[in-house]
């Protein structure tokens, strides 16, 4: 079974010009914290954005730096910091996805097998992978989709 057989095709995407407020409104429609693909006009995949990317600019220490300083980290400092930091209300329109999104995203091609997709998820400890067809964004894949895909094939659903 291939990735394209089980992936979500009508995934929600954002562009680089989406502003922070619009982005957060899309985020709140999800039940869990999502990873949103960022695409251009021709649906070429540019990167992705998640809640962490949005919060990072407002925190005093980048999370990547915290990881390299042993014994400095601890607890959910993000939430702790966010409670006290003054975020100007107009940040919602001032910040664009272009300022925040991450270009270094692990992706998978749509004609790969679902077992290699699962391996990739386990190896990198990630739950969601953007699926590409060449450079173009094709859909999103989560473990849930893989399991549902298999159950559908077995005729249970």
């Amino acid at each position: 079974m291939l990735v394209k057989d089980v992936m979500i095709r009508d995934a929600i995407t954002v562009t680089r010009s989406t502003n922070l407020r619009e982005l957060l409104e899309i985020f709140t429609k999800f039940h869990t914290s999502p990873l949103l693909p960022v695409v251009d006009r021709d649906r070429v995949f540019l990167g992705a954005i998640k809640l962490k990317d949005v919060i990072e600019p407002f925190c005093s220490i980048p999370s990547r730096m915290m990881r390299t300083a042993k014994y400095a980290s601890g607890g959910s400092f993000m939430i702790n910091e966010l409670q006290y930091i003054n975020i100007p209300p107009d940040s919602g329109t001032l910040f664009l996805v272009d300022d925040l999104y991450s270009k270094k995203i692990i992706t998978i091609q749509e004609d790969e097998t679902i077992s290699s997709a699962e391996q990739m998820m386990d190896l990198n400890r990630i739950g969601t992978i953007p699926v590409l067809k060449g450079p173009t964004f094709a859909g999103m894949l989560t473990k849930f989709d893989i399991v549902i895909g298999i159950l559908k094939e077995k005729g249970i659903i």
Binding site: S60, I61, P62, T68, A69, K70, Y71, E81, R125
Partner: protein
């Protein structure tokens, strides 16, 4: 006492002392070193003699991990973005401490060039953890804070290079058995060993990149990464090239050629006990009786290093046209020293038996002292610069 029983006691004891020190908001490193001193063979003797014999191994692995992680911060695009100010201040504060301490040791304490150079090199190191803790705790933010963060992330790499070059020079001087006249020769030889470390690091990382696609489970990735780290450390020790530099180059090249963080993350899952033991053993290796004999050296080192950081950071600030508050107060954030200095001091102790013990004792005692005053200094710097609200 069985060695593993003793190891278990050490892990629990260090964890518990960490809990206690958290109550008074001091860096964990301090707790581990002090616990090491108390539990060590020169005091309570919980750290069994046999355990001490494995400590060079632990410190090699600990140092390798520290350097590998520091390399991770060396991402080209980040360095370009941080800009001239961070780069210049980092470079000059490290060199400032290096030269000041070296010259003070040579002319004020009348040491030979080799130990003076070692002490100077160790003085260049700083420790980011305590600084970050304070920034986080007081939710500081602004230009001063972001510059300070950039510097503590960047200057470790600068220090590793300074330490590697100096130790290589001191080693070659020792091998050649000559004094001051051999400095130019020693420089040439050490450049060779630096080149060797760079090459080893690059070759190993390219191998990691080539083989990595065949490693498809998390467990195997851990085995694979540990294997390469050990090979990097082992090759460096066999070829007598600076292991700090080899491992840092491995981390830096890997972070730059691959955008997956899995290589680093998988090691983070297991490195906590190694670091803990690394610091406990540093304390346990301290001969308490030796502290009094290094009193003068430690006092000079303690003061001159800070002065060197001040002078260097100021010069770097002037050259990069930094605002006055950055020039004036940046040094206060650069006081702590921990992992890099301790590990390198352990290396010095093993490699240069003649004066290694004195240097090691100086570094352990001053590390504890710096870690105690470091957070206060950082807090003062942030307050003076007006970035604590």
């Amino acid at each position: 006492m069985h060695i593993l029983f003793s190891l278990g006691l050490v892990l629990i004891g260090a964890w518990f002392s960490g809990k206690i020190i958290k109550l008074i908001n001091l860096p964990l490193v301090t707790a581990y070193i002090i616990f090491g001193i108390i539990a060590g063979p020169f005091a309570m003797n919980i750290v069994h003699g046999n355990l001490i014999t494995v400590s060079p191994l632990v410190s090699s692995v600990g140092l390798g991990l520290i350097a590998f992680n520091i390399g991770q911060n060396f991402i080209w695009s980040d360095i370009k973005r941080m800009g001239k100010m961070v780069a210049l201040i980092s470079l000059f504060e490290a060199l400032g401490a290096y030269f000041m301490v070296m010259l003070a040791a040579r002319y004020f304490l009348s040491m030979a060039w080799a130990p003076a150079m070692c002490l100077g090199a160790l003085a260049s190191a700083t420790a980011p953890a305590a600084t970050m803790m304070v920034i986080k705790e007081y939710r500081a933010s602004g230009l001063f804070t972001s510059t300070l963060l950039g510097i503590v992330a960047f200057d470790d790499a600068v220090c590793l290079i300074i330490i590697s070059i100096s130790l290589a020079m001191v080693n070659t001087m020792a091998i050649m058995g000559a004094g001051n006249a051999a400095v130019s020769h020693a420089l040439l030889f050490s450049l060779g060993s630096i080149g060797g470390a760079l090459l080893t690091g690059i070759v190993l990382t390219l191998l990691i990149k080539k083989i990595a696609p065949f490693v498809i489970t998390r467990e195997n990735l851990l085995i694979f990464m540990l294997a390469f780290l050990f090979i990097g450390i082992g090759v460096s020790e066999m070829l007598k090239i600076p292991l700090l530099l080899t491992c840092m180059v491995m981390g830096a090249v890997l972070a730059n050629i691959s955008h997956e963080t899995k290589f680093f993350d998988v090691l983070h899952e297991v490195d906590a006990p190694v670091y803990l033991l690394f610091f406990v053993f540093s304390g346990a290796n301290l001969k308490i009786s030796a502290i009094t004999s290094v009193g003068a050296v430690a006092a000079v080192y303690f003061i001159v290093r800070v002065f060197g950081k001040f002078a260097g950071a100021y010069i770097g600030g002037v050259l990069s046209h930094a605002p006055a508050r950055i020039k004036k107060y940046m040094w206060l954030g650069l006081v702590p020293q921990a992992g890099v200095a301790l590990g390198a001091a352990l290396m010095v102790r093993d490699q240069l038996p003649l004066y290694g013990e004195m240097i090691f004792t100086t570094i352990v005692t001053t590390t504890v002292a710096y870690e105690l005053v470091g957070p206060l200094c950082t807090k003062l710097a942030l307050r003076k610069s007006g970035e604590i609200s």
